[in-house]
Each structure stands twice: as C-alpha cells, then as structure tokens.
C-alpha cells in the first residue's frame, strides 16, 4: 500500500502541475493478488488480466517453455548426428531417418513460430513499451489479451501435431512435399495460421500505442531506441503476416480439397509457394532481429554510462531494415529456377540491407568510447551479441554474393549463418534484455557472478556448436541430412559437444534467474541508472505502473543519476517530484502461491 508520506508528495505534485495525468494509485505490485483470493480466482485474475505486464509475464513463461521444447528437439538432432550413419536412437535406418526429419522440422517450427517471433516483442515489448511511454497500458488491452490467448491456441495445435503423427516437412512447409506427406501438416499449419493472428494483434496494438500514446514531450526522435525497433517490427508484423496466413490457407485448400495451386500434378506451381512463403518469412527474419538490435541499443548506453552515438542513424536504420526487408525474399530462391534477372536484382537489394546493419554495429562500438563500461550480466550478453552478430552479418556477404551462394545454398553454411543471426544474435539480445529488465519485472536481483559465468558458457557453447558448421558447409555438407560423409564426423561431434555446453549455460542462466525470485536481494528501482521512463516506477511496478505521469527527459542522458550504496542502485540527483524519498515503499515479493 502507498505510504502516507508518498501520498502527500503525490498530492503536492498534482497541486503544482494540474496538467499532469494522474493514474489511480493502487500501491500493490502487479504480481501480487489482493489477500483473500481463492486459488481459482487467482488463476483467472492472471488468465483474464488486462494488465500488459501480466500478459507479458505469461508470454515470457509461454515462450520459454517453447524454447525448452525446441531446445530438446535440437538436442535430438545433434545427438542423432553424433554418428555419420543414421541410427543412434533406432536400429532401422528408415526409422532413424524419419526420427531425424521430424526432429529438425519440429525444432525449426517450434523455435520460429512459438518462440523467437513472439519472444522479444510479445514478452519484453509488452511489459516495457507502455512503461517507456509513461503510460498505464497499451492502446488495446483486450486485444493484447486476445493475442496471448491466440498464442496459447496456436501452441495447442502444435501439441496436437506432436501427439498425432508429427511433422516432417521442414519448418518451411515446401510444396508439393507438404501436400503429399502423411504427417499432421494441417494441424501444424493451422497452428501457424493462428499464431500469425496473435502476431498481427501484437503488432497492430504496438503501432497504435506508439502513434497515439506518446506523452507530451516525447517526439519521435526522443523515443528510446527500443521503441523504434519494436515499432519497425510491428509494421512488418502487420504487413507481412497476412501473406503467410493466406499462403497457409491455400496450402490447406490444396491438401484437403485437391485444389491445384502449388502442385504441378494439379496444374499448380511449387515455386509460387516459395515466393509467397518467403515474402513473409524473410521479413519475419527482421521481426526476429530488429527487436534484438533494439534491446542492444538500450543496454549498451546504460551499462557504458554514455549517450547512444548516432541516435538518428540507428533509428532510421531500423526503419530502413524493416522496409528493405520486404524486398529481398528472392535471395532464398537463388537456386529455385528463378530467372537470372530476378536473382541479380534480389542480390543487389540484399546487399543494401547490409549497410544499415553495419551502421548499427559501428554506432554501438562508438557509444562505448570513453564510457565507463560496467561488465554486468546484460552487458556481457550485449558484447556477445556484437561479436556473434558481426559473424552472422559478415557471413551473409558470402550468401548475398550470387556466385558463392550457389555453392553454399542449402548447406550447413546457411544453417550456421542463420543460427548466428537468429540464435547468436536475437536470442542473446533477448537474454541481455531479460537480465537488464529482470530487476524491474520481478523486483529481485540475481547473482551477477553466476549470471556472467552462464553468459560465458552460452558464448563458448554457441560458437563451438555453430562455427564448425560454416566449415561443414563450404566443404559441401548439405543441410537436413540424417547422415554424412566420414570426413565430417569430427566437425559434427564438435558441434554436438558445443550443444552440451550451450545446454549447461542456458540451464545455469535459468537457474540464476529462478533462484533470484526466491532468494534474490530486493531490487532497487533503478539498479543500472537508466534514464528511460520504465525505471521511474517501483520494482516491480504497481498495476498502474506510475502513480503520476513521469516527466519526459532524454532517454540517454545519465548525468542526473548517481549510485547510492544504501539503495543498491541509482537515484536521480534532481528527482522527479513524486519520488520525494529514495526509500520508496516497496511492494511485496513476487507471487509464490
């Protein structure tokens, strides 16, 4: 509950500036329920909540479960590849091949659709976008909840796929294989279709929220860069996802009713499917990476205590990547019998995307120049991101260059490249964001030592897993192979060993975070001295986020924040009016029923 002195200062602030928006103060952590609730009331207070933070936390639990599932499938893939011949799990070669095909398909589909697309926008974006605006919630809280419920329904369809005959089409559902295989393509595509709507809802909500709910003083170029990234992502989600939905409906029509769209036996064209699919799925790559870049643009300046360098260039580069991302889908099809002219044009457009990506890396580096670099856990992840994104981005040059792509297309080189971008970059950025905002989300500090050890293990494990795959690819190892030539065994076993290190690293990171919920030190309101608005409320925030709308300042000026050892965090030298005392009454610990 809100203390007397704090209420007094609030009233004072309102009296001094009546134009400030006042939210109803509740004074209770958004995680806690009022006393006296029954178990089922508590459950429904979460399941049907309109609070963007609770929805974000539920999304976080959901995507993390999906990540665990997808990670187990990845482990099955890597273990199956320990030997060059199929059959670590099965005596029969055909069964082993089927098993491998199912595992890599499910790994790809679960990771892409259930985990990585919703991960940053729907979990972290949902929690922090309104708070960065100093707002109480997103523009359409009910739509936000509907988006999460759709995600759950989509996940249920995936579970049905798993429990029936599985899926062996590859996550891309290429026709005509996907219309002829015996596995549960309909359930899986139905799941992806529904998840697509979940994604559209989130995107639409964020576009409207950013456009209409920015507080007075927050012009477009005073927004935190995280919002620029999320906004660019949201535009792609709204514009590209319907194409995927339509494509999958067409696929279902063909499979269920025999309408010839993609199958040449029925008069269709299989390459048309690839155009449709990549028209969504290439922009989807930017749905995944842009929010990751957005997090890095927040984490690096805060933990370097330096204003971000080249704000406008980073902001524009996000928009540029989002727009150019729509024009490069043909580079997935350089060997697909697409015309020479089309290939040349798509190659040229692909190279244009490399420039804004390079600009971001140079700007992040320059931000650290003459800073005071705190090697906290989120910063360690951000540094790992820079290294791995550099590798991921640079290896894209081999694939954008037409002549070299022909050799490397559909080999392990491509597998390594996109894991460097998707996992080595997006996932690492997600972890950077998770560790950065964890104190705010749950009001608890984790062990920095163990957090950094986990980060180091993840870094080593990731690179051991995926760097050998570049070499496998250049030596001509095709992807999606359940077996391989004896020469490749060493590199494959190295890769599988990396998976084990990676698994230990992730488990440790999860343990560090979960342990902090129960035994962690209470988090201060602003542990890193960040200047964005979400740090101006309590940790964890109340249901209304702010008792009173905070003042909007520059999101990257840290001079006003001074470390206070008593607080264990930073306090503003000239505090906002409502923060009269630095020992703000803290809400109770997170819910542990």
């Amino acid at each position: 509950m809100i203390s007397q002195s704090r209420e007094h200062s609030l009233l004072q602030a309102i009296a001094e500036d009546p134009s400030r928006k006042v939210f109803i103060p509740q004074g209770r952590s958004y995680l806690a329920n009022p006393p006296g609730m029954t178990f089922w009331q508590a459950v429904s207070s979460w399941a049907f909540t309109l609070d963007h933070k609770r929805i974000g936390v539920m999304y976080l639990c959901g995507v993390m479960s999906a990540f665990l599932l997808g990670g187990i499938f990845a482990g099955a893939v890597r273990l199956e590849l320990w030997n060059g011949t199929p059959g670590l799990f099965h005596d029969n070669v055909q069964q082993a091949q089927d098993f491998y095909n199912q595992m890599f398909t499910l790994h790809g589909a679960v990771m892409t659709f259930l985990f990585i697309i919703p991960s940053i926008p729907a979990a972290l974006g949902n929690i922090f976008l309104p708070m960065m605006l100093g707002a109480k919630d997103v523009a359409f809280p009910r739509m936000n909840l509907a988006s999460f419920h759709l995600w759950c329904i989509g996940a249920v369809f995936f579970l049905i796929t798993l429990l029936t005959s599985g899926l062996d089409t590859g996550w891309t559902f290429y026709t005509p294989y996907s219309t002829s295989t015996q596995t549960s393509v309909i359930f899986a595509t139905m799941g992806v279709f529904i998840l697509g709507f979940s994604s559209i809802f989130t995107g639409l909500n964020f576009v409207v929220t950013v456009n209409t709910m920015r507080p007075k003083g927050m012009t477009w170029f005073k927004m935190p860069l995280f919002m620029w990234g999320i906004y660019s992502t949201a535009i792609i989600q709204v514009l590209a996802t319907p194409v995927l939905a339509i494509t999958l409906v067409l696929l279902m029509c063909e499979r269920l009713m025999g309408i010839g769209i993609f199958d040449p036996a029925l008069g269709g064209d299989p390459v048309l499917y690839q155009h449709f699919f990549w028209f969504y799925s290439h922009p989807a790559v930017y749905i995944m990476i842009l929010p990751g870049m957005a997090i890095i643009s927040e984490v690096i300046p805060v933990h370097s205590r330096k204003h971000i360098f080249g704000y406008t260039f980073i902001a524009y580069s996000s928009v540029a990547i989002a727009l150019l991302g729509f024009l490069v889908w043909g580079h997935h099809m350089f060997t697909s019998t697409e015309s020479k002219l089309a290939a040349v044009i798509f190659s040229a457009l692909t190279f244009t995307v490399s420039i804004p990506s390079a600009i971001k890396v140079f700007n992040w580096l320059t931000t650290m120049y003459k800073g005071s670099i705190h090697l906290t856990t989120p910063m360690c992840y951000a540094l790992a991101f820079i290294v791995q994104f550099t590798i991921g981005g640079l290896t894209g040059l081999f694939l954008g260059t037409l002549a070299t792509d022909i050799h490397l297309h559909d080999t392990y080189f491509v597998v390594a490249h996109f894991h460097y971008v998707m996992m080595g970059s997006t996932l690492i950025a997600f972890l950077a964001g998770l560790f950065h905002w964890w104190p705010k989300m749950f009001g608890k500090m984790y062990s920095e030592l163990w957090g950094r050890i986990a980060c180091l293990l993840v870094f080593i494990g990731f690179n051991t897993t995926f760097f050998p795959q570049f070499i496998l690819g250049t030596r001509g190892m095709p992807r999606r192979y359940a077996a391989y030539k004896p020469e490749f065994q060493f590199l494959h076993q190295l890769s599988t060993s990396g998976y084990v290190i990676l698994g230990v690293g992730f488990s440790l990171a999860a343990a560090v975070l979960i342990y902090s919920l129960f035994r962690g030190k209470k988090a201060p309101d602003n542990p890193w001295g960040a200047a964005t608005l979400e740090w101006k409320c309590c940790s964890p925030p109340t249901t209304a986020n702010f008792e009173i709308q905070p003042w909007v300042g520059s999101p990257y000026v840290y001079d006003d924040f001074v470390y206070d050892p008593d607080e264990g965090g930073y306090v503003e030298v000239l505090p906002d009016l409502h923060r009269s005392g630095k020992t703000a009454d803290a809400p109770a610990a997170p819910v542990t029923h």
């Binding site: 095909n101 290429y174 390459v271 040349v344 037409l402 001509g476 030539k485 590199l491």
Partner: protein, 425 residues
Amino acid sequence: MSPVSPMQIPLASFGTFDQFRDAASTGAAAIDTLYFWILGICAFFFFLIVAVLVAFIARYYARPGHVEQHTPHHDNRLEALWSIIPSFIVVALFWYGVLFYLDLRTPPENAYEIQVVAKKWNWSFMYPNGVVDPNLHVPADRDVRLVMSSDDVLHSLYVPAFRVKMDVVPGRYSELWFNATTPTESFDPAIDPSTTGADENGYDLFCTEYCGQGHSAMIAKVVVHKSGTFETWLAEAARIDPTSSPAELGEKIWKQRGCSQCHSVDGKASTGPTWQGTYGTEQKTDKGTVKVDENYIRESILNPMAQIRDGFKGVMPSYQGQLKDAEIAAVIYYMKKLSAEADSVPATWEDAGGVPGQEEGEGSAEGVDTSPGDGLDAGEPIPAEEQTPADKPDSEEAAAEKMDVEEPKTGEQPETDDAETATES
C-alpha cells in the same frame, strides 16, 4: 581426397583445413577466388571490430576512479564514412558475384546434353542413346548441360566439387552446366555412394532440397571419364547381352533405377515391402486382399497409389513412361526368381522371346548416335556400328560394370579402339 582416413585420426580433417573440396570444374576456380576475397574482407572487419571492442573494454571498464567522458552524440562525417566504405565493398562483391553467376547459369552452345530425372530418392541420368544410369557419367574437358525434371517433389542437384547447384522442380525443366576438368581415378558402381568418403569413388552428387525420408541417402556419383573413354562407357552401358537372363536385367533395374532404395531382396521390410518371397502370395492392402501376380506388380510400378500394402506408406513415385514393357517384365521375372516360382523364370532372353527393344542378335543401340553431340574436339564422328559390337563375349558386360575409367580398353575391341584413337588425336 586425403590418403589417410579421417575416421582413424579425428583431427586430420581439421588439421589440414582445406576449406573446399578440390575444384574439378572450369568454373570453380573463379568462385573459390571470390570466396577467399570475401573471407579476407570478413576477417579484416571481424578482427577490426573485435579489436576495437576489446580495446574499449580494457581501456574504459568501470573501476574506482574511472569516470566516463562526454563525447559528441553524433558525427555525420563519421556516419557517412562508415556507410560509404562498406557500400563500395558490397558493390564490388555484388558485381563479381553477378559476373561469375551469369557464367554459371549460361550454358555454352553445343554442350553435351544429359536428361536428369529426380524422384524419391534416387537419380536417373538418361543419355542420348537411351542408356539410363543411377550415376552421372560425363566426359572430361567438355561442356555438359543437364536438363532436369522431378517426378514428385522438389529436389536439388548439387556437385560440391564443381560448385554447381540447381533445384529440380516437378512440372518444369531446370538446367545446369559445367565442364569437368579432373577425371575420376577409379569407379566401382557396386559401392553405395552414401558410404564412401567425400569425393571418393567419383565426385559426390547430393540432393540439397529436403525431399522426405530418404533425402540424406539421395546421393549419386559423378564419374568423369578421361577424354575419349566416355564413348566406350556409353556403348558398353547400352548393350544388353541376348544370352543373359531376364531376371538379371530385373536385378540391374532394381539396383540402378532406385527400387533398391526402398525394396529389399533379403526379406527385410524397408520403406516398401521386400521382394523376397512376395510373388504369388496373398497380401492385405488398403483396398482389400490381393494376390501378388504380374498385374498387381505392373499396377504397383505404374500406378503405385492404386493399392497400398498394409503397414506401408504410399510414398512410391510412378514409373509410368520410364520403364519399357520389357523392363517391367524383367522386374517381374526377377521378383519371380526371388519367390517360390523361381523355376518358371526363363534362363535367357531367347527363352523369354527376345531382347527387349531390339531385334534378335543385334546391338541395342543400333542407329542411335552415342557420340556426345557435334562440338567434340575429335575430328570425325564415330559410325554407330563401330561403337556397339553385338558379338562381344559374355564376360565383357560384367567387366564393364567394374571398370577402370582411366585405362582405355585394348585388344578385345578393335573397332572401339580405333574410334578412341581418332578421338584423342
């Protein structure tokens, strides 16, 4: 092709660190050069970025007494510089990428043409004289153009040693060309291509577009024949010995046309039912019980989805238009031979009423031009009769199966030998 097996020394393949397989086509050198240029550029930028990162961390990490200093929040000249320099680099990469790509995608005129049919999960290479082989045989130092189509789903033909790749799409033809420079040292068709080391026993030819269960076993070999010996191979491959037995042809079709991928002949169930002891039995299918007789087998080959045996998935592609009637008959003879009715199988083609597709006693490829087009360096075209000696001894065919490609045949075939001399001169 390393002399030491990497299986014995795990670090061997890593220690030598040959980035690519040995290049074996005319186009490969340019691509490799471009690859190493990009590698150099990437290494430069990667080490630059990491060096700056490490230097900044070492110099500016938070420690007692260290405070951050204000620097400008933006610098348009710097931003322009690091936008424009990479732009020049990527324009150069794009340009050379396009140049070599256009080479890679524009087949020269008069290239020797081979038809390729991909199906789950094998390759068929069809030569102008009607020969169908599961491995790709090509002459060295000659432009070869593949015209490819798929019978079922997407496949992709990839020969890493040649640095070429192209999808094989059902319902349309795709094309691919290369000029192989390094002849294969030796080739034994009896060795399963998925069990050899990389580029051993012929260059690897992979399917790189995921096509289902047997995708990773859809591997063939490219056999590059030394100049002049390709025609010999082609003539040999075209010949059916009239004194051999139909069941032997059936066995050859089983091996070469992809049947063996899914149908065993030792009684083990695989993707498809075994052929051993199946002929003449009663089997349950999704349409009821059926007796496995000539008509059922014929239907299963031409229209596999009509009746699907219980316990198996309907994944077999149709062979409609790809096997001649006599070849289907040979397959049926072979299945009979594997069953209780083995005694009823005719011992020779004469007993079976003649060699399929040819008059009795004549060579199979009579009148078919086996010379690889008119762009051949050799002076004179080879008369068809000379290439296909009809009266070769029985053992010749078996010898031709396991052949040493680099060693031209001598002695026994005077006519062919003359043709070779003419080609090489």
